[in-house]
């Protein structure tokens, strides 16, 4: 678990860059394109730094770019950051999506009650906090940043978007606070449990992993963490905030919410639940797998019935998160590698889907599927990107989500055949909801109201292009990502004390 200290504080720089950006954005004059340009500039620089850092990453090197300082000694809290494969992939996802979202939301905040400055300022703040969350190796630091992410996203949902946004924002916040405060109870419990350690309480992940937590205590504490992450992820039955929030927020906010923030839930399960509470994780596996399978099917079924495109995508995400959780708790190297990769891929594909529908909605002014028809004839590029994003969402072979979904199912199959079979049903339903939506909006006769829809503009194409490119490339060539993830997953399984029923080499299957 120990990593190498780093000479350059990469992660601190990376987290501070957007913070500085946010402050600058708030200071520049309102009403011009300047704040947007500044925001874009900072997010692109952050992306460049991330890539520069990722290049130096050594897949087998454990935690890297480690920084560790005492923060609050009385709490045993540290400022401790570091990245393993999983963290790196998610930081990369955050860094990629932020400039994309800024570019795609160029005009979304214009003419609202709040200035565009605050919109882009909050986005950058969110980027900073998300990077911090994925990099934190101290539970206290993680918790603090985890809760702090609520503030920017709360103002992003509540300040910009549809008429019901205030309600959606409050609902989101209360769900998250409920989960978060339950987790606080567990965090407090961890402190008390680790008090007996040599050198007193510590929140460092490595110290907690070495702590012997009693069985029943461990299970209770696990529950606190797990419920918080399940709310975040979101899993059935605590998912109901997501459709409201995604439906009311702007598409850029939805992307950040679903593609980045919700990943904290699944990330937290892998990073903290499994590492700190291996026994409790094994104990909870049957229930969690059941919930995950329910999420897969429930999300898919509800998605089919949706009229509102944003709600539909939100429900597909519930289904996809079901897959991710399923992969994590299958406790096989395939399943977990797949789940980790799925987080990245789902981020890309859902982001693409949200953005394309966002472009569509901004043209016509309606979220309802029935208001569209025959769009592919008037706006072929838009329809094409919509199709590509949709196909990636239903995990078409050759596109990146397929690899991860396949790995998850294969990993699950070796442990629980019924779960794998039912989850596979989810993929069929996925085809149904995506194609059904495509058929109703894009094909058919051109409606009078959609007859004059302009096609995608250059800015919008530029925003979407990197996402679609990555989806295709990773679909055929997922090896670099899997190489980064596999050592992490192996260590994780070792900590949980599980072994694969039948050893397989995950990276080979990925290419097929």
């Amino acid at each position: 678990m120990t990593g190498s200290e780093t000479a350059v504080p990469w992660l601190t720089i990376l987290a501070l860059l957007p913070v500085v950006g946010a402050v600058v954005v708030l200071l520049v004059p309102k009403g011009s394109a300047l704040p947007k340009l500044v925001a874009l500039g900072f997010s692109v620089v952050a992306l460049v730094v991330t890539v520069a850092m990722a290049v130096q990453f050594d897949a087998d090197g454990g935690f890297q770019f480690v920084e560790q300082y005492n923060w609050i000694e009385s709490f045993g809290a540290h400022y401790a950051v570091g990245l393993d494969g999983l963290g790196l992939v998610l930081v990369l996802l955050t860094a990629i999506l932020t400039p994309v979202v800024i570019l795609a939301s160029w005009h979304d905040a214009d003419g609202g009650r709040w200035s565009a400055n605050s919109f882009f300022g909050w986005i950058l703040a969110l980027e900073a906090l998300s990077i911090g969350v994925f990099a934190a190796t101290d539970v206290f630091l993680f918790y603090v940043l985890f809760e702090a992410t609520l503030i920017p996203i709360y103002f992003l949902i509540g300040g910009f978007g549809g008429p019901q946004r205030s309600y959606a924002a409050v609902k989101f916040l209360l769900y998250s606070l409920f989960g978060g405060l339950l987790m606080l109870a567990s965090v407090v419990g961890l402190y008390v449990v680790s008090a007996g350690n040599e050198g007193g309480s510590s929140y460092l992940l490595e110290d907690l992993m070495a702590t012997d937590i009693g069985t029943s205590t461990g299970r209770w504490l696990f529950l606190g963490f797990f419920i918080a992450f399940a709310v975040k992820a979101p899993m059935w039955p605590v998912h109901t905030w997501l459709p409201d929030a995604a439906s009311e927020a702007t598409s850029g906010t939805s992307v950040l919410l679903v593609s980045v923030l919700d990943k904290i839930g699944t990330f937290g399960m892998m990073r903290f639940c499994l590492n700190i509470f291996p026994e409790a994780s094994r104990w909870a596996t049957p229930v969690v797998i059941t919930l995950a399978v329910i999420s897969v099917i429930y999300g898919a079924l509800l998605a089919i019935g949706q009229q509102d495109m944003r709600r539909l995508i939100a429900y597909t995400s519930v289904s996809h998160f079901g897959f991710i959780v399923l992969g994590i708790f299958a406790m096989t190297s395939q399943g977990q590698s797949g789940a980790a990769l799925y987080m990245f891929n789902h981020g890309l594909s859902t982001a693409a889907l949200f953005l394309v529908t966002g472009f569509l909605i901004s043209r016509r002014g309606s979220k309802m599927i029935d208001d569209y028809g025959g769009v592919e004839k008037v706006a072929p590029v838009l329809a094409g990107t919509f199709l590509l994003a949709g196909l990636s969402s239903l995990s078409l072979p050759g596109l990146s989500p397929f690899v991860s979904e396949f790995l998850v199912l294969a990993g699950t199959f070796t442990v629980s055949i019924p779960a794998a079979v039912i989850a596979t049903l989810g993929t069929v339903l996925a085809a149904l909801y995506i194609l059904y939506m495509y058929q109703r909006t894009m094909t058919g006769p051109v409606r009078p109201s959609t007859a004059k829809l302009p096609d995608l503009r250059a800015r919008e194409v530029v925003a979407l292009a990197p996402l679609l490119l990555l989806i295709v490339v990773l679909g055929f060539f997922p090896k670099p990502a899997l190489d980064a993830l596999n050592p992490t997953v192996d260590r994780l399984l070792q900590q949980v004390g599980m072994e694969d029923p039948q050893p397989t080499v995950a990276s080979e299957e990925g290419g097929s």
């Binding site: 609050i72 000694e73 606070l177 405060l181």
Partner: protein
């Protein structure tokens, strides 16, 4: 018990009268505050009316700063006892404990008082006069009142009254015998009763607040007194240390002690506004002038918790198992009532009052853990430290929040109705943003002092075995978060009603208070360690 009487009798015999031995240096913070209060009274008597305001403000600020400096000096020179388990000594013939926690609380109270004095002295918001009644004796709505107002007459007596209250608070938290504690309780209460009734605007509800506070306060101090009587009956002495000796030397429970303990708890819990003794809090907080509310909410709570902890940890620590269940119930009830009732409030001050009730519950949660310094290992925090930290964090946030309430106004003075705050975020983004920040701190969102404070008291409770209480506290935090968030929604996401609220530009005094409050709320959220170090250095209560 008989052993006591014999020692006492022999003491009386040996020293028919001994000159009291008082170390004035160590008591200097207290003496400075009382002395400055007396100076204030003299200023009232001799200074011309138009100069009093300036003189009183200056005297109060300088006096409080001097007292604070004295606290620092005394703190740097305290001796340590029992290998560092506690600091300081018992002074004034055993009446006052000048120990680490006392000094910590003195310092805290003085800092909050300095911030409150600035609010008391604010003149710009009312167009050149303070927020206190021009002539309290003039009937509301009469020609005499208007005349007093138009002539710019103001009651500068509020400054000495406030100083007396501060002196009482400091004494209350450091009293080492129950009798001194009772006197201190009255010294801190009487000026507060008076201050509550002196609002310039809405005088009727202000006077009603004073009456309610007075009657219920007197009622509760009668309970406190009867409790003292019973405990005295049990132990034969008022000294906390002697009571502790009596408690630990007798085996088994005793009706007298338990009844006395319960009655004393009523008096103390009243002052910290814990349920079911919180009924006065919303009315008084709403009716009192906002500056006084800020002062009461922060300082009284600090002092009362200081006294509560001292009585229960020092004198009654031996019967911890008897009072802990009672406090469990009180803590849960207080949090529940404070949080749930706050949801239905439509007045900001009232809502903050219920929030203060809820916070009292969180503080009691930390208190029931009853983890003594010697029981915790390494860098861990004891219950005393947790509660003291929470008090510091809560005080800064509360004073800041009430200070913001004073600047949101319309033609009729402060607009405290929630609906009138709609759209404030658009009108005055900075003020609304700062207030939202305070609310987030109350809700316990990370990176604010509220979070670190909550964390500290929850840990203390859990380490003391009260984990179910922690779960209740967490659930109540969610409920509480709801109404804080509601205010944020109103401020930022609702459209203003009518003209909407206006934010008056306050003078530098209120600005300083708000800035300090906000800055400390942030600092204690991000780098709380120095305050924890200070609390650790303060050690435990002296016995």
């Amino acid at each position: 018990m008989t052993a006591h009487t014999s020692t006492l009798a022999s003491r009386l015999a040996a020293e028919a009268f001994n000159k009291p031995d008082i170390d004035y240096g160590k008591l200097s913070p207290l003496l400075i505050v009382f002395g400055v209060a007396l100076v204030g009274v003299l200023v009232e008597a001799f200074a011309p009316r138009d100069r009093r305001y300036v003189i009183q403000t200056a005297v109060s600020i300088v006096g409080l700063a001097a007292a604070l400096a004295a606290v620092v000096v005394v703190g740097l020179n305290v001796q340590s006892n029992h290998g560092g388990a506690s600091l300081g000594s018992v002074e004034a013939m055993g009446a006052i404990a000048v120990d680490g926690p006392s000094l910590f609380i003195w310092g805290t109270v003085l800092i909050f008082s300095l911030m409150s004095v600035l609010l008391f002295a604010e003149r710009q918001l009312e167009g050149g006069i303070t927020a206190f009644a021009g002539q309290a004796a003039a009937l509301p709505g009469t020609e005499a009142e208007r005349e007093a107002s138009s002539r710019g007459i103001e009651h500068t007596e509020v400054f000495p009254l406030m100083l007396f209250a501060i002196g009482g608070m400091m004494l209350f938290a450091s009293a080492n015998d129950l009798l001194t504690m009772f006197v201190a309780l009255e010294v801190l209460s009487l000026p507060l009763y008076l201050l509550c009734g002196l609002a310039r605007r809405r005088r009727l509800i202000s006077q009603e607040a004073a009456l309610k506070y007075f009657l219920l306060g007197a009622f509760s101090s009668a309970f406190f007194l009867y409790g003292i009587a019973l405990v005295y009956g049990y132990a034969g002495s008022f000294r906390l240390g002697d009571i502790d000796t009596a408690v630990s030397s007798t085996v088994g429970g005793n009706g007298l002690l338990l009844a006395g303990m319960a009655l004393m708890a009523v008096g103390l819990l009243f002052k910290v506004s814990a349920a079911p003794f919180h009924a006065w809090t919303p009315d008084v907080y709403q009716g009192a002038p906002t500056a006084v509310t800020a002062f009461m909410a922060a300082c009284t709570k600090v002092a009362a918790f200081g006294a509560l902890l001292r009585v229960f940890y020092v004198a009654l620590g031996g019967v911890r198992w008897d009072w802990q269940p009672m406090m469990w119930v009180i803590a849960a009830l207080t949090m529940a009532i404070g949080s749930i009732v706050a949801i239905t409030q439509t007045d900001i001050k009232r809502m903050l009052a219920y929030s203060s009730v809820a916070h009292a519950g969180f503080l009691i949660t930390g208190f029931v853990g009853a983890q003594q310094g010697i029981e915790v290992a390494g860098q861990q925090i004891s219950s005393l430290q947790a509660v003291m930290f929470y008090l510091v964090a809560y005080g800064f946030t509360t004073i800041g929040a009430f200070a913001v309430v004073t600047v949101v106004r319309d033609a009729g003075g402060e607009t405290t109705h929630l609906s009138r705050w709609a759209g404030l975020g658009k009108e005055a983004p900075v003020v609304a943003g700062v207030f939202a920040f305070f609310l987030l701190a109350f809700a316990g969102i990370p990176l604010t002092s509220g979070f670190t404070g909550k964390w500290a008291v929850f840990t203390s409770a859990w380490a003391g075995g009260a984990w179910p209480l922690v779960v209740v506290a967490v659930l109540m935090s969610v409920v509480a978060a709801f109404f804080y968030v509601r205010v944020i929604v109103v401020m930022f996401f609702s459209d203003p009603v009518g003209d909407g609220p206006t934010v008056a530009v306050p003078s530098i005094l209120t600005t300083i208070t708000i800035t300090v409050g906000a800055a400390m709320t942030l600092l204690l959220g991000v780098v709380p360690q120095p305050v924890f170090d200070l609390a650790r250095a303060a050690g435990e209560f002296i016995r």
